[in-house]
Symmetry: C2
Subunit: 236 residues, 2 copies
C-alpha cells in the first residue's frame, strides 16, 4: 500500500513515545550530570534504559507483579546505584526517577504533531504510565488528543493486548489505526495485530553512531525522516 | 476549606462533560429538528437523555452486560422510535446516534479550560466512551490534557471505581483531585471517595426554567458560575 493509500484508510495515529517523540538519552544524561554523581552521565542513561526491556519482561513472565514504568524505572535505578556503591539522598533519587516525566521532544515533534492533528487524532501508545505521559506532554508541549498507555491494559508492548486495546478504545478496526515508531520491533508487533505502520528512524536515539534496530525496506507502510515528513506523506 | 485552600491542595481537575462542559439539549434538538421527523425536537432530546440513567443502572445491576454509551444511546433511541411508530432509514438513525460526539460547548467552556490548564492538568471524567469524548473534543475545540472515561474502568459514575480509578491513573491521592460538575449527585459521589468538589450550575441544561438538582450551600468546596469564574477562584 502506498503512503497515500494509508492516508485514506487510517482514522487515527498512535505513537510510541520514548525515542520516537522524545530524546530520552540527552535529557536523562543532562540531569545525571547536573547531580554531580561520579558516573559517566550518558553511559548511566544508557544503562538505565538498558534495564527497561528486561524489567517489562519480568512483568510479562509474572516474575514481577504489574508494576508501572515509574516503579520499574526506580527498581532499575536502585540497582545501578547499588552496583556503583552510590548512596545519594532518597529525595535526590526520587526526583531523578521523575526525569522520564520531563524528557525533551525531538526538534520536529511538536510542530509535526500539530500538523498531523489537523487531519487525524494523535494519541500516545506508550509503555509509560499515564501520569508520566501527562507530565511529559505538559512539559514538552506535546499536543496529544488523548493519552493511551500500557497501564490501561495491564500489558506492556509488544503484547498484542496493547495494540488491540488501543483500536478498541478508538472504536476503529486495527487497519484504520497507524502506529508510528522509531523501533521496527514495535511496528512489527503492531502489524501482527493488523495495524498500519509508519517508521520514523531516530538515528540519534542512542547517541551519535549509536545502535539502531535493523529493518528491511518495504516492510512498513510509510517511512518518513521526521514528523513533518510524515505529515506530508499522510496529506496532513 | 476555602477556594484558595483547594487551589493549593489540588493537582489535577477532572470534569463531568454532558451538561457541565457541553450543551447536549440544544445540540441534540437541532439535529433532530433538521431531520424533519414528526416529533417535538427539544422534548425528544429530553426523552433521549431521560433514558440515560436507567440504562446505566441496568448495566450496574447486571441486567445488561457492559455496554458503552454509544450502545446505550442507540438502545434508548430505538425505543423512542418504536414508541412513536417511526421507522427512519438505518443510516439516518446511526448518524443521529453520533450527535453526542458533536455537542456544542457552553460559551465559557473552551476559554475557561484554557485558563485552568495554565495551572492544572484538565481531564474529562465522563460516562461517555473514549471515542465519543475524542470526537467531541476535536469538534468543540476542548483542550483536554487527556480523556478519562468510565469505559476505562468498566463502571459508570456514580460508582466509586470511576473516581478512584481516575485518582489512581493520575497517581494522586483523591484529595488532590478536584471533580468539576453541574450535578450535585456526581459531586457527592466524588466527595464520598475523597475528591474535592467544584459545583458549576448550568441552569439552561434542561432548557429555560428546566429542573435542576437541589443542593445545599456549603456542601461543595468551590461554587462558580462558569469556568472563567472557576479559574479565578482557583488562581489559574
Amino acid at each position: 500500500m502506498t503512503a497515500s493509500g494509508v492516508a485514506v484508510q487510517v482514522r487515527a495515529l498512535v505513537f510510541d513515545v520514548f525515542g520516537t517523540v522524545v530524546d530520552w538519552r540527552s535529557s536523562v544524561a543532562a540531569e545525571v550530570l547536573a547531580l554531580g554523581w561520579p558516573v559517566d552521565a550518558p553511559a548511566f542513561a544508557d544503562a538505565w534504559r538498558a534495564g527497561y526491556a528486561p524489567a517489562m519482561q519480568a512483568v510479562r513472565e509474572g516474575r514481577l507483579p504489574w508494576t508501572n514504568i515509574d516503579g520499574l524505572h526506580r527498581r532499575i535505578l536502585d540497582g545501578l546505584l547499588a552496583e556503583r556503591g552510590l548512596t545519594p539522598p532518597e529525595a535526590e533519587v526520587a526526583e531523578l526517577n521523575l526525569v522520564w516525566h520531563r524528557l525533551a521532544a525531538w526538534p520536529d515533534s511538536v510542530a509535526g504533531l500539530q500538523q498531523l492533528k489537523t487531519r487525524y487524532p494523535v494519541c500516545t501508545l506508550s509503555n509509560g504510565n499515564l501520569r508520566l505521559l501527562l507530565d511529559m506532554a505538559r512539559h514538552a508541549g506535546l499536543p496529544w488528543d488523548t493519552l493511551l498507555s500500557a497501564e490501561l491494559f495491564g500489558h506492556y508492548k509488544p503484547d498484542p493486548e496493547v495494540y488491540l486495546g488501543a483500536a478498541r478504545l478508538l472504536d476503529l478496526p486495527p487497519a484504520q489505526v497507524l502506529m508510528v515508531a522509531a523501533h521496527p520491533s514495535d511496528l512489527r508487533a503492531a502489524a501482527a495485530c493488523g495495524l498500519k505502520t509508519a517508521y520514523v528512524p531516530r538515528p540519534l536515539e542512542r547517541g551519535p553512531g549509536g545502535w539502531m534496530e535493523p529493518w528491511t525496506p518495504g516492510e512498513f507502510d510509510v517511512v518518513a525522516d521526521d514528523f513533518s515528513a510524515l505529515a506530508a506523506a499522510l496529506g496532513a
